[in-house]
Subunit: 214 residues, 2 copies
């Protein structure tokens, strides 16, 4: 039924604890369903090995980034551990007009700013079932020192304060990535049928009703 309803894309923020599996969930969402566009952030931090320009990030100098800020070319930006991160406005707005739901995988700071500018954005928080699972996942990755893991957990504790500012929880339970992916897809499909996003459809039905009842 969505093809006769609101055709404008929905701006969607996906955040979550580091280690919640956001990256995997987003990758599967893009593979499994069409109609989504994943926004690529701009950053001033140096590319890591295997990171590609335009795929993982747009890598820019501080001067270039500040120019983007001055031109109001970013929907939101934040400074984090000494580097800037931001969301380019143009790509997002083009995709929304084309009817694609645009996913921003961003930090909580940025999420608040997006909400302020786009009140009809949908904010989804990806979380493991419990905190112990988060710890286990970080340990099992085996890529970080105990100190780094402790740092991530501390940060997750700080971030948990922001959960209440989101619209939906998507629980990424162990061994159930697909369920989490499908739920995010369902949330957005249902959001397209919200009354507040369908004033054109309602207006048309009302007009037809007015004529049809004469």
């Amino acid at each position: 039924m969505n093809d006769i309803l609101n055709q404008r894309g929905i701006l969607t923020v996906v955040s979550g604890f580091s280690g919640a599996g956001k990256g995997t969930v987003m990758k599967r969402l893009m593979e499994k369903y069409s109609g989504y566009a994943l926004s690529v952030s701009v950053t001033t931090r140096a590319p890591r090995e295997n990171e590609e320009e335009g795929i993982h990030y747009f890598f820019r100098s501080r001067e270039e980034f500040q120019q983007l800020i001055r031109e109001d070319a970013l929907i939101e930006f934040a400074e984090y551990q000494g580097n800037y991160y931001g969301t380019p406005r143009r790509y997002v707005e083009d995709c929304l007009s084309e009817g694609k739901d645009v996913i921003l995988e961003i930090e909580m700071q940025g999420a608040e700013k997006v909400r302020a500018k786009y009140p009809d954005a949908v904010l989804i928080f990806v979380t493991p079932e419990n905190f112990d699972q988060l710890r286990k996942r970080l340990v099992n990755r085996g890529t970080e020192t105990a100190e780094q893991i402790a740092g991530r957990l501390k940060r997750a504790a700080e971030e948990s304060v922001y959960m209440k500012d989101y619209d939906y929880i998507a629980v990424n339970m162990d061994g159930a990535v697909e369920e989490c992916v499908d739920r995010i897809h369902d949330i957005l499909q249902c959001e397209h049928t919200r009354i507040s996003r369908n004033s054109e459809f309602i207006e048309r039905i009302r007009e037809e009703a007015g004529k049809g009842a004469e």
Copy 2:
């Protein structure tokens, strides 16, 4: 994931134009999915042929109905074409506590009253794709005179004003009842993952995070 989230049922109002196929959609929703309870209204109107006490309605006298009003035993009630219709509170609240989503299939007048008393209720409006389809369905039923059909269409035109007060549109397209049923199910599944309905889960994660990061 819903079994680890909010366990309280969601009060759900389903309204729609007469001829939109609400009855069929509700019947299929109950058959196809578990976890729903359909509320049975109380009315003072006389039973029609094939209508059973406690299944289609609870049939009561005007005096009995007024007693229910005085006892605050109804969530909402309205007078329509000289008869009272109301929703019994007890059944609804018992089901919600048991974790069932309770569906009220009621008129727009009643929907507004439910929203006022239960701000977290979900209001869904079932509509055909266009008004012409509504007219065709009423004609094809073959059970009503041209005058009665004109009356229903006129009423639908009046009712279309209330669409904007609902949360979601469920379009019941010709030959696609299952899609409409599945969408209503999805809407409620997703509503269970709303942040505003999951303060307990969030509180638990925050506590675990606080301890886990020490």
